[in-house]
Amino acid sequence: MESHANTSISGNVPAVEVNDLTVAYHEKPVLWDIDLVVPQGVLMAVVGPNGAGKTTMMKSILGLIKAAAGDVRILGEPYDQVRRRVGYVPQRGSVDWDFPTTVLDVVMMGSYGSLGWFKRPGRQQREKASAALERVGMEKFAHRQISQLSGGQQQRVFLARALLQEAEVYFMDEPFQGVDATTERAIIAILKDLRKANKTVIVVHHDLQTVPEYFDWVTLLNVRRIASGPVEEVFTDENLRAAFGGKVGFLTKHGHDEHHDASHPVSPEANVPEAGS
């Protein structure tokens, strides 16, 4: 609690600070010497080609993947000490949606952290979960079995679950991946709400077109950190080419001319779905 008071006084503590983060799988580096400073109150996209280590970076910041080296601070503290102030939306494909449980029950998992060991969620948690479901437009689905949801609805359930954590820093892994228009709008509305409340949101994102529209901060990643900063400064053709190699046939700065860069060979890799990076 003490640390909480500290940060609210000195509001310039970065939301996330990463130094020299290196991660390797079977001796092959997937993240190399990453430095990152994310100020509080920004919506940040993490973009990069498949296998660039976007998900890996997020997971190693959250301690889910062991880093070979490096130091991570969230709100100026080691992650372990500020867990309660950090929310997480995993890729929706990472769980079994045929699990025997209801939408409301999944959302209530967002309250488990504040409940601590042994204690079961009660009426208060149920009410909060209902409110979170309403925020994502899923209140009618509260008592549905989760296997009956569409992909977009699954995503909104995960979002509602994270909202229940009432965190200050949110990590979201590909929330826009393969969702319908309703869900996309719902996610954007939530992101804007969170920014208004001065929360920080870090989103692994794959759609370069929408980066300037949805986000104000961006990190370009390809094993190494290519660039990181405000979108208008950092999201340039040059940086994108550095991150994606010559593969980018869909750079955004030139409006709707999606294939202006046809002189560069478009690698087939650019269309391969991300394999657990």
């Binding site: 997971k59 959250l62 301690g63 889910l64 867990r83 309660r84 950090v86 997480y88 995993p90 990472s94 769980v95 079994d96 699990f99 025997p100 449980t101 209801t102 999944v106 998992m109 488990y112 952290g113 409940l115 060991w117 042994f118 079961r120 969620p121 079995q145 296997s147 679950r161 954590q165």
Partner: protein, 371 residues
């Protein structure tokens, strides 16, 4: 003996109590194994337990249930630990790792068992009941041992209910919330070892994994809630355990494990077929009904197309034409009769023709398909 002696006969009562207890524990904990897609782990564990039983007897010379089960638990745990290490440290896949551990430990167990049987001491006889199970040998002290081990496992399941749900549904999320999922995993594995070990004397190492997997798989068919699944799996486990144990205890030369598994199979197949929503019968009826509805609609639309080709002229079309248009799918006549019942088509001497209402209906369908 008569199975109904369960109410009066002391031995049968003991046997039933033991079988019910192990059914409840293994069914409940087996649900978590199933949800975590680790059903085969139970098989590896139970086979791995055999050398533990043999070694416990060799070292202590005792056949006290607690001693033998402790040996079984240690060996079962060791086997599981071995599987986990192989998965983590090598690139061998989980199923291969389990296959290796299962066969190596079980083979070792058989060798030790054969060795023990050749020993001159008379007291060794009876260890082979751990292969296929012998419910009739269950005594009060065995049941007490089972309760002492099994009830705490059930209690822990209740205490850590929400943590176990996190572990089973979304382990990484649980980690980010600050719950040590690795520790929960170890705890659940230990509980599963207990569930298996207490059934070894009754069901045997060869078939014990059925008591872990089958009740849970059957229960999943009937319910969409984790709580319901655990309760139902316990119930199925208890019913199968008791009926199998009583049948085998009252008949000569009927090993308990296989008998229980036969009863379990009935429960599982029944659940696969008859369960609402997930059952095969339900799905068959539903898809049958859907395809019938689609077929009726297709015939209506075919007639509509024909009428369009004849510019609204109310001309009958023979059933052969419609049959050709439906690509040889049967049931055209049945569909026509159903359409006739709804007064959307009528039969004229030269064949079938749409009524005005039928034409409207077909137009509506066409509109739906465009939008």
């Amino acid at each position: 003996m008569n199975p109904l002696d369960i109410f009066t006969d002391y031995t049968l009562r003991t046997v039933s109590l033991g079988a019910a207890l192990l059914g409840i524990v293994s069914g409940g904990l087996g649900s978590f194994a199933l949800l975590r897609k680790q059903s085969l782990m139970g098989d590896a564990m139970s086979h791995a337990a055999l050398p533990g039983i043999a070694l416990a007897f060799l070292f202590t010379g005792s056949k006290a249930p607690l001693v033998l089960l402790l040996g079984a638990a240690i060996a079962g745990w060791l086997g599981t630990w071995f599987v986990m290490q192989v998965i983590r440290k090598t690139r061998v896949s989980q199923d291969s790792a389990m296959g290796i551990v299962l066969s190596v430990f079980f083979g070792l167990g058989l060798v030790l068992l054969t060795f023990i049987q050749k020993l001159p001491t008379a007291s060794q006889a009876g260890l082979d009941k751990f292969l296929f199970g012998q419910a009739a040998t269950l005594m009060e002290k065995d049941v007490i041992t089972m309760a002492v081990l099994g009830l705490p496992a059930l209690l822990l399941m209740g205490v850590f209910w929400k943590e176990l749900k996190l572990l089973s549904f979304d382990r990484e999320y649980g980690d980010t919330l600050g719950f040590a999922m690795q520790k929960m995993d170890l705890l659940l594995t230990a509980m599963l070892v207990v569930a298996i070990v207490i059934g070894l004397q009754t069901v045997g190492v060869v078939l014990m994994s059925a008591m872990v997997v089958a009740p849970a798989a059957a229960a999943r068919q009937w319910t969409d809630r984790m709580g319901g699944m655990v309760v139902l799996a316990s119930l199925f486990g208890a019913i199968s355990g008791v009926s199998g144990a009583v049948l085998s205890a009252t008949m000569e030369n009927l090993p308990t494990g296989p008998t229980i598994v036969v009863v379990l199979s009935v429960v599982v197949f029944g659940s696969m077929i008859f369960a609402p929503r997930r059952g095969l019968l339900f799905n068959y009826v539903r898809s049958r009904r859907n395809s019938q509805r689609l077929q009726v609609r297709a015939v209506l639309e075919d007639l509509y197309m024909l009428s369009l080709q004849h510019a609204g002229e109310k001309r009958p079309h023979p059933v052969q034409t419609l049959r050709a248009m439906s690509w040889g799918h049967g049931g055209v006549e049945r569909s026509l009769r159903e359409l006739e019942e709804r007064k959307w088509v009528t039969q004229l001497p030269g064949g079938w023709v749409l009524t005005t209402a039928g034409e409207l209906q077909a137009q509506q369908h066409a509109g739906e398909e465009k939008s």
